[in-house]
């Protein structure tokens, strides 16, 4: 296969970026998309050109480190992660445009690498159950209906890649935030802190500069783990009921 690649190149966060076009003639349909870029990079290095930087780690679709906005879709045309996308999903001779995630809260670091630490900070604001190690009840002490456990699991499968933000025209992080809030709102373990959790995480999400949700559901359509927008509705419920009934709290996390 042969493909033409239009890749966003940007030296650093403060530099101006632009597209560069590369002709790639040694593509096998069995290559993963990232392996295709590996081969391109080897060629570039041999020519003495700076290789294209992109984030990746596990390459099995679970760590959430790979990104890339490919031909107008986060993680490319299939509903999977970029590392699980294979070149057989493209046509011979196709032009492929590769861009970084675009969001104010995800500034570009270099080429296709963006800074997603905003997600960490949202989690730190309340994405946990406050239990210390040790001194917890037996695991079977609290029965949890299978349906509820399964639904919590579905929310918990979020890999934190940021495709929802990349797909959303508003760069909204609500699918991500709602998945975590949902997991804990569903499970009995999360109940004691559910009010503060919803308020803190939403406040942090706003502070990071993510947009609001306009229910286009593009996030759900693009999420590699199929997280449902039902979670966003749940987050809204959690948030409204908590704002109405909770005690006042201070923004900033911590105890």
């Amino acid at each position: 296969m042969k493909v033409t690649l239009k890749i966003w190149r940007q030296k650093g966060s403060n530099d101006k970026g632009s597209f560069k076009t590369y002709q790639h003639d040694h593509v096998s349909p069995d290559m993963s998309f990232l392996e295709m870029l590996d081969v391109l990079n080897t060629d570039l290095i041999k020519k003495g050109e700076d290789p294209v930087h992109f984030d990746h780690d596990c390459r099995e679709g679970i760590c959430g480190m790979c990104s890339l906005y490919i031909n107008g879709h986060p993680h490319g045309p299939l509903q999977t992660t970029t590392c699980q996308l294979h070149m057989r999903s493209f046509k011979d001779g196709e032009t492929i445009t590769i861009e970084p995630w675009r969001a104010k809260a995800f500034p570009v670091i270099k080429d296709l690498v963006v800074d997603r630490t905003a997600f960490d900070r949202i989690q730190q604001a309340g994405g946990y159950v406050s239990v210390n190690t040790g001194g917890v009840p037996d695991a079977n002490e609290i029965p949890i209906p299978k349906k509820i456990a399964d639904e919590a699991f579905d929310a918990a499968t979020c890999i934190g890649c940021g495709a929802c933000v990349a797909a959303c025209k508003n760069a909204s992080a609500m699918l991500f935030v709602s998945a975590k809030i949902s997991q804990f709102a569903l499970l009995p373990q999360g109940k004691p802190e559910r009010k503060e959790r919803a308020e803190r995480m939403v406040a942090q999400m706003d502070a990071e500069g993510f947009g609001a949700c306009t229910n286009t559901k593009a996030c759900e359509a693009e999420c590699p783990k199929g997280i449902s927008v039902t979670n966003i509705a749940r987050m809204n419920r959690e948030y409204y009921s908590s704002v109405i009934s909770s005690y006042e709290w201070q923004v900033g996390g911590g105890e």
């Binding site: 306009t214 286009t216 749940r234």
Partner: protein, 226 residues
Amino acid sequence: MAWFTKFLSSTLGRKLLVALTGIFLILFLAVHLAGNLQLLKDDGGKSFNIYAEFMSTNGLVQFISKGNFAFILLHAVVALLLTVKNRNARGTERYAVSSSKSSIWASRNMGILGTIILLFIVIHLKDFWAQMHFGAVPVVDYDGKQVRDLASLVDLWFAKAWYVGVYVFCMGALAFHLWHGFESAFQTLGLNHLKYNAVISFVGRAFAIIVPLLFALIPIAMFFDF
């Protein structure tokens, strides 16, 4: 009350305002349509005029009407604030290639659709509401009761082809706005449940088609004198 202002300035708080006012405006549309449909009665505009007279003089209706104006403004202003925030959230660089496959058109263009509807409301108010309240509308006599003849004014405007065209176009925009807005308001309120989603979606879409269609039929019927 710090919590309340904080709530109203949060994205979710603002979304809630848009959703609640949106649902109120949906109800308003239904009431407004019921009144307008009387124009199609073949009685020389009598029932419509009596209805219009009642609506513009009844104290309670006038009170709700003020609230309605406020909600329209609130709906538009808060939506505008959110839109500005949303545009900023994308950052300075835009995507060079953007695919539209993952969402429906209306959902991505609520701002434009809303703006069209807002312009329509301004024209609509200037031509009818303002005339009724502050303008010189001819008066007719129904069994000794003096009633302003709003129907004749409507007749006058709906005889102009371009006006009917604008009206129908704007109803089209309303249809798309409702197509997404109705369901979306419920999602924002957190009313999403597998048992009821299908009903909400069906009612929303039916409403989005039927209500603007009936609104649009009135000027068309009057223009062609059915």
